[in-house]
């Protein structure tokens, strides 16, 4: 950890930027993995020899709804966190 004290401010900025980017990538990967799993379960009941057009349509709707759901959950959790902080 002590090596970090010798960073120039430009290096430090770059390090911070990299940390942010890695977190963003990890976040996108998590979203992608969960979305694939959930939408596969919802839309593919009996796997056939190819994804038919109704399955494809279901998947794209499912992706959009998954994002809607994520955003709503995020807002709900955010306001709950704020309410809990007021209590303390």
């Amino acid at each position: 950890m002590s090596g970090l004290s010798n960073l120039s401010s430009a290096d430090k900025g770059e390090l911070m930027e990299q940390v942010k980017q890695q977190i963003a990538v990890a976040n996108a990967q998590e979203l992608l993995t969960k979305m694939t799993e959930k939408c596969f379960n919802k839309c593919i009941n009996k796997p056939g020899t190819s994804l038919d057009s109704s399955e494809q349509k279901c998947i794209s709707m499912c992706m959009d709804r998954f994002m809607d759901s994520w955003n709503l959950v995020s807002r709900t959790y955010g306001s709950r966190l704020q309410r809990e902080q007021h209590k303390m």
Binding site: L4, K20, I23, C39, R65, W70, L72, Y77, R80
Partner: protein
């Protein structure tokens, strides 16, 4: 927490320590959102349609709050159980 503060000052870079602490907190909140979304998606979503209807939206919002309530309640009761058994 005081260990953390002394680490911050001994490594000589408060700005970096603070940045890392905030990013860590943000990542934890984000991980929690992923978890809630997964749980509440399974509870509330039927066949995906062209938009989230208002009943589903209510279900999702209630699901998050009730899950947190449940978690708080269980934590409390669990602590009581532990105390009783001591």
């Amino acid at each position: 927490m005081s260990d953390f503060d002394s680490l911050g000052s001994s490594s000589g870079d408060k700005e970096l320590q603070e940045f890392l602490m905030i990013e860590k907190q943000k990542a934890q909140v984000n991980a929690q959102i992923h978890e809630f979304n997964e749980i509440c998606w399974d509870k509330c979503i039927g066949k995906p349609s062209s938009k989230l209807d208002s009943a589903t939206e209510t279900c999702l919002a209630n699901c998050v709050d009730r899950f947190i309530d449940t978690s708080l309640l269980i934590t409390q009761r669990f602590a009581q159980l532990l105390q009783k058994n001591q």
